[in-house]
Symmetry: C2
Subunit: 240 residues, 2 copies
């Protein structure tokens, strides 16, 4: 992977920030890019640190978190393949970024990327589109954090993972689905604005009520996708 991959073979070629670039633009990006690999649980950047690159997630899952002075922390972004990290026009990170699984990033030096953006409308157009999608997802999430019960939050989270997985295989989620959670219980708690104990209890409750089956630490299979959506309190079924 490191350095060698051609953009033509890239798994996120048609979903990432570079999706709409062809020909010259694409060639320039290909020239500029460099890969970085991280093991699960590694920090990518810390809030407030200088950040002189931007990147796309190629494989794996990373998280963005923010924390209060006393250590309480909330996840504010879940980055999956094709998601963008960093902000052109700002030199320090606004959030902590950490890998949840092994991760490969496709990076660009921030300065070069900004220059390229000015010359290639496709790039900034796509970035605008992606940023707006992120904003929609953040708002969905705010609804979850502000108003949903613990059980609904867990169900919503599993539904999101199920939908993402279904999207990869290009079919709409339905019926019985087996999946692997990309997060530990602790990361789920940080994501959902809960404690790890509550996450664990609600997972157990959903299993007891026949909504899901649990296999090992990360394995979950939903008995019925529609049932899970019911449990999620509605609305989240639509967007994101």
């Amino acid at each position: 992977m490191r350095g060698g991959m051609r953009c033509g073979d890239c798994p996120i070629r048609y979903r990432a920030v570079c999706a709409q670039c062809e020909g010259d633009e694409q060639a320039l990006l290909e020239q500029m890019k460099f890969y970085r690999s991280y093991e699960a649980g590694q920090p990518i950047v810390w809030e407030g640190d200088r950040m002189d690159f931007v990147a796309s997630v190629v494989t794996g899952v990373a998280t963005l978190t923010r924390t209060l002075e006393d250590g309480r922390t909330q996840m504010v972004g879940l980055l999956q393949p094709s998601d963008f990290i960093g902000r052109p026009g700002r030199d320090t990170a606004a959030c902590n970024a950490t890998t949840a699984t092994d991760v490969v990033l496709c990076c660009f030096r921030r300065g070069s990327f900004q220059q390229l953006m000015e010359r290639t409308p496709h790039l900034s157009h796509r970035l605008l589109e992606m940023t707006m999608d992120e904003l929609d997802a953040a708002r969905e999430w705010m609804l979850l954090l502000g108003r949903k019960t613990a059980r609904e939050r867990i169900a919503s989270f599993i539904a999101i993972i199920a939908r993402r997985q279904a999207a990869l295989t290009k079919r709409r989620p339905a019926g019985r689905i087996a999946l692997e959670l990309p997060l530990t219980r602790e990361a789920m708690a940080t994501y959902l604005g809960l404690t790890i104990e509550t996450v664990s209890r609600q997972m157990t409750a959903l299993r007891r009520d026949g909504v899901i089956e649990i296999a090992g630490k990360r394995g979950v299979t939903l008995t019925d996708y529609a049932r899970l959506i019911e449990e999620s309190g509605g609305s989240s079924g639509a967007a994101a």
Copy 2:
């Protein structure tokens, strides 16, 4: 105001989506724009409705909310002068938009605006910048919704209003500040992921503890800005 105002006299001329447009671009926008006025408490659009315009808030305050099927609702955006509403490239609204005070919008037909965006990089560049700021604010908000106590949420909210007001007069907030809340208790509750009763109780508690003074329904004066920030749990003091 209606129709007559020249962009040169516009109070949000150098902060809105049009901020970086000059000369021809500016003239085109001036030609396209039309104003709409709403009284306090009026709906602008409903979630799922067709929306064939985009707009900037010129004066007043509007809110974006999302609701679950059973009626629980969460505010997901607080729109102040210069903030942008609507999304080029999407024809239905993702949230309910409602006015909190009397509001004047500077509107553009969505189709025309999109065409203009393609030809004028300044416009889409500024929109990207604003959307990223919105995303940062949403993430700040997620931290509040996920991890802050009721008292901290109230203090954070008042701090945001104080900071916005200070920004208008171009000085940094400090010491004793008088301000007027742009939201009812009910809207504050919707914003903060609380009930109206809890908002009321915590306002009383902050008054009792000498952090704020309350004058009428909307009037608040903070005795000491720094003290309020302490009460807000930290972090929110920085961004947004």
